[in-house]
């Protein structure tokens, strides 16, 4: 194993698929570990402190991916990153992101997109590890402009996740995959501004027990300085959620 290379744990009960993914990541200079079920994977996570990413199937015997995600995020909300690769309809997207998954790919997936998501998550995670300062709780508001529909909204941020937030859109909902510009700010601290671009990861078309009509938005790029402000809030709230459900 190379000490400088990132380490990925691939978890799938299908040996052929596990081997094919492992082969791909080894060619891209990753240290690769594998497991055939969630229980085996968690033992490896506990015994191996330097794992950067866990890439896991959802439906598996002997500990499914959701149980594995819960165990990993209860241990440490930020490390390692967990990315799901899933067959059809194993879990709702909003539930997976709320439980703390960093990205979600349906099978069959695009290998380049998966590799980009893994590398992006590792890059963001390293930035977060470098910043541990805590700050007092702030009341936050978000201004959003959806770029395709040109629809703009200003609303209070109820909860903020490690990678995004829920935006209530009572009058009109966005489109899945739609890009947007956002600016998070606080009336009590004018120096607190987090601005950047994001993408709609899931939609709630009708209000239900989990929350109102709206969408789950992932922050995809932050303007200069914003990341540090965001990390301070996240470290303060210690949330496991990547994108909260409300």
């Amino acid at each position: 194993m190379s000490e400088d290379s990132p380490t990925i744990l691939i978890v799938d009960d299908e040996p052929d698929l596990r081997d094919a993914i492992a082969f791909d990541f080894r060619r891209n200079k990753f240290n690769v570990l594998t497991a055939s079920c969630g229980n085996e994977a968690f033992k490896i996570v506990e015994a191996t402190p330097n794992i950067d990413v866990v890439l896991s199937d959802v439906r598996m015997p002997n500990g499914d991916g959701i149980e594995l995600l819960d165990k990993i995020k209860s241990r440490d909300a930020q490390n390692p990153i967990v990315i799901f690769i899933s067959g059809f309809a194993d879990i709702k997207l909003e539930e997976a992101y709320d439980k703390g998954v960093d990205a979600f790919f349906g099978k069959p997936f695009d290998r380049k997109a998966l590799l980009e998501a893994v590398n992006y998550s590792i890059k963001v995670s390293k930035q977060w590890k470098a910043r541990k300062k805590q700050r007092v709780d702030l009341e936050l508001f978000i201004d959003v402009k959806f770029l395709k529909s040109n629809f703009a909204i200003k609303t209070r941020v109820q909860n903020i996740g490690r990678g995004g937030t829920f935006i209530a859109t009572p009058d009109r909902n966005a489109a899945l995959g739609e890009e947007l510009e956002f600016k998070i700010h606080s009336p009590s601290d004018p120096a607190f501004v987090v601005s950047g671009r994001g993408i709609v990861r899931w939609l709630r078309a009708e209000a239900d027990a989990t929350g109102p009509v709206g969408c789950g938005v992932e922050f995809r790029s932050l303007d200069d300085g914003g990341n540090l402000n965001l990390v301070e809030v996240i470290n303060y709230t210690r949330t496991k959620s990547f994108i909260p459900r409300k």
Partner: protein
């Protein structure tokens, strides 16, 4: 969408993904033209045939079920 259709899509997704990744891996190896990778490449292509057989069996079984349902 019925429960059976969901199960079918779920079950077929893994071997299909394996097949896709293995073919892409084999193509990359052949493009690299490294003689020492030929054995590994053959192994991958044989694995592809196994995945094709699994998918074919699943599709045939599913088709039989659908034909019986429509009779």
């Amino acid at each position: 969408m019925s429960g059976d259709q969901r199960v079918f899509l779920h079950d077929v997704s893994s071997p299909l993904t394996s097949l896709q990744l293995n073919l892409e891996n084999a193509i990359m190896m052949l493009e690299d033209k490294k003689p020492e990778e030929i054995d590994e490449c053959l192994k991958i292509l044989n694995s592809c045939m196994g995945q094709v057989r699994r998918i074919v069996t699943m599709v045939r079984d599913r088709r039989e079920v659908l034909i019986k349902e429509s009779e």
